[in-house]
């Protein structure tokens, strides 16, 4: 038995954890009523927690890489960071990447992750050649958008409740360089930021960082970051597909929670904004800093202290021109609930997965250190999100109620039907499922 927890350090559970390195070993474990599959634990909540856990991270080999067509096939426990080291020097990139590269391929599929390009290129499931899953009888089932498509739609975004995803074949994106041509635009407040998103909708990558602490008319001052993969001509270095190795710093221990008051957060944000002095700034920068700004600070999650934190990520439709976002941000500010990071992105149409999170609109992600009153406050926010026609991201959730979930994920019945095909007797039953009664 060991204690495990995901990236936000809440909740923590005692679990029996077993790993495997072959399909036979996996089938043997699956037959022994393990209830959860766990990748690299970068979700925020209880999705990959349970009493008996199968850990995929030792099942991490790359099986084939077609450098002509840009198709890579690998075991589900391989990390995106490992894939990047292989594919970037050959002129390929991940078609979709979350804000950290330290997640497994299986975790990317099971959460149907989205990146800064969702409005243009969809979620992870949009780029999968095929998957194989292990069914309840220990047989491998191959699926894709075209074949066994119900299983495919259930597995993508299915949070591991379809049983283990074994192998994944992914279509990559061709790049000329390992650099991003980046443009930063400062916005004074949210009212100014939202139209900027629309004006720049043609950019492949876009994301905004919002300062939630500034009061008054500067409330919601932000930086919009836009990016395109740089062409050969735009990069001066002679090694177009190689970037200098950046050194990782590590936060070695849990910060006591009291250090994380409004003052320290304010100081952090100040630093961040003063570094970007001009209103509009363009530069060509290695891809890592653009996509994974926090990965260089290993264990930054410990900055919130031992009690951990919650991430609240929702998506709401755009039809009210972003008034919903402003309303929710105001609720947070009025309540003095500080958020260290607030990240805003736009999303395109819904994806294939029955439980995929994205839908057309704005998505906002906020981190809240756990403290008294937070859970009740987030219950209030849930009501507003539902009213606005939105929903919360399962990979970032540790606390919503089953009723909130069932009101906001309309394809639940289709999911249940399809999940039966591979997880017949509901053996896979994570703590997330126990809380939300998904299957």
């Amino acid at each position: 038995m060991q204690e495990i927890t995901n990236w936000n350090l809440y909740p923590k559970v005692k679990a029996e954890v077993k790993s495997f390195t072959s399909k036979n070993e996996l089938a043997r474990l699956s037959g022994m009523h393990f209830d959860t599959i766990r990748g690299n634990g970068r979700s925020y909540g209880d999705a990959s927690l349970g009493a008996k856990v199968i850990d995929t991270t030792a099942y991490n080999k790359v099986l084939s890489f077609d450098t002509e067509k840009g198709i890579i096939t690998a075991q589900s426990g391989v990390l995106l960071s490992d894939l990047l080291e292989i594919i970037v020097p050959k002129g390929w990139f991940l078609p979709v990447t979350p804000g950290t590269k330290f997640i497994t391929l299986g975790g990317a599929v099971a959460s149907d992750v989205h990146g800064k390009n969702h409005h243009k290129e969809g979620a992870f499931s949009n780029h999968i050649e095929y998957l194989t899953l292990l069914d309840a009888h220990g047989n491998l089932v191959q699926c894709s958008k075209q074949s066994n498509s119900e299983i495919f739609k259930a597995a993508c975004g299915g949070m591991g409740l379809t049983g283990p995803i074994v192998e994944i074949s992914l279509r990559l994106k061709a790049i000329e360089t390992a650099y991003i041509k980046q443009k930063q635009i400062k916005a004074k407040n949210l009212e100014n930021l939202l139209p900027l998103f629309e004006e720049n909708a043609s950019y492949t990558y876009s994301v905004a960082w919002i300062d939630c602490l500034k009061k008054g008319e500067n409330y919601g001052r932000s930086i919009l970051m836009l990016g395109e993969h740089a062409t050969k001509e735009e990069v001066k270095s002679s090694h177009k597909l190689k970037v200098p190795k950046s050194k990782a710093l590590s936060i070695p221990f849990n910060f006591p929670s009291f250090t994380l008051n409004n003052f320290t957060i304010g100081a952090f944000n100040q630093l961040y904004y003063s570094k970007n002095i001009s209103a509009v700034k363009e530069m060509v920068t290695p891809y890592e800093g653009f996509f994974y700004p926090l990965d260089n600070i290993l264990h930054w999650n410990r900055i919130y202290g031992k009690k951990g934190f919650l991430q609240y990520q929702f998506v709401i439709p755009k039809n009210d021109g972003g008034k919903g976002i402003i309303k929710i941000m105001k609720m947070i500010s009025n309540r003095g609930m500080t958020s260290f990071l607030a990240v805003l992105k736009t999303m395109g149409p819904e994806d294939t997965g029955y439980l995929s999170f994205p839908k057309e609109g704005y998505t906002l992600a906020l981190d809240f250190p756990i403290r008294k009153g937070l859970f009740e406050f987030l219950d209030e926010l849930d009501k507003v999100v539902i009213e606005l026609g939105g929903r919360l991201y399962l990979a970032k959730d540790a606390r919503m109620s089953a009723s909130v979930f069932h009101k906001t994920y309309p394809n639940i019945e289709l999911f249940r039907e399809a999940a039966k095909k591979t997880n017949l007797s509901k053996d896979f039953n994570s703590d997330l499922n126990k809380r939300l009664s998904i299957i």
């Binding site: 790993s19 390195t21 072959s22 080291e85 292989i86």
Partner: protein
């Protein structure tokens, strides 16, 4: 000394895989030997894709002693270095009751290893060159109630390697005894081990390959284990037998 072609027996062990990545990175040709074809193919493709190195694989089971000769004969190109990495820890409690368990521990850590290394040693001796490395364990330094059947097999293997080194010294063949303490592989899954004494497989892999190339005789990994075992060995038996180790 230079290694051109390394044969790894038990190539899918956590420690062995780490050695394989290190060797591939150095451009050393690899022959992977193990008992699971699926794992061997996966390791081979991963190594080939990451390092564009030359890798092949062969099925090998330490328990099938009668096939060891044929296994080595069948290798189209003979290696100039070999790492013998397979071995199981087994369950001490089970082994006390169950001969099959005891026997599996002895055969994988001792009999099987000696059978295949005898064959390879003769070939290397004839050529007058080569490096043989065997992964034994600090557990073989003194028997303790918690794992003395495994420990006994490893003690036997350590004695074998030392004798082999002595025999081969004059023929230009080098023998390395590796004595790991704790290495975080599948073997230790579910066991709580003290953090500072527990090595990462990647680090152990680097140290092992480098000790082979440098022709070291004995490698404790982590090196602190040399001191720890020195202390453990110097405890007088009347006291030692009452300890809960």
């Amino acid at each position: 000394m230079h290694i051109n072609h390394l044969l790894i027996l038990g190539a899918n062990s956590g420690i062995a895989e780490a050695v394989a990545y290190e060797a591939a990175d150095k451009g050393i040709k690899l022959t992977l030997a193990g008992r699971s074809e699926e794992k061997l193919i996966a390791l081979k493709s991963d190594l080939t894709i990451k390092y564009e190195s030359e890798v092949d694989y062969v099925l090998f089971d330490a328990f099938n002693i009668s096939l060891h000769e044929a296994f080595y004969d069948s290798l189209p190109n003979k290696p100039d270095a070999v790492l013998c990495a397979f071995g199981i820890l087994g369950s001490q409690e089970k082994a006390q009751q169950d001969w099959q368990e005891t026997n599996a521990v002895i055969e994988s850590n001792f009999t099987g290893a000696i059978s295949i290394l005898n064959i390879i040693a003769n070939d290397f001796e004839e050529k007058g060159a080569g490096i043989i490395a065997g992964i034994s364990s600090v557990a073989g330094e003194r028997g303790r109630q918690s794992n003395y059947i495994y420990g006994a097999a490893k003690a036997g293997f350590t004695a074998y390697l030392s004798g082999l080194r002595n025999r081969m010294a004059k023929s230009g063949v080098h023998v390395l005894t590796v004595k790991p303490g704790f290495v975080k592989t599948k073997m230790l899954e579910g066991l709580e081990t003290p953090g500072p004494l527990t090595a990462k497989p990647e680090d152990a892999g680097k140290a092992i390959l480098s000790a082979m190339i440098k022709k070291r005789n004995t490698l404790y990994y982590k090196s602190i284990w040399r001191l720890i075992m020195y202390i453990i060995k110097s405890i007088p038996e009347p006291i030692f037998k009452k300890l809960n180790l």
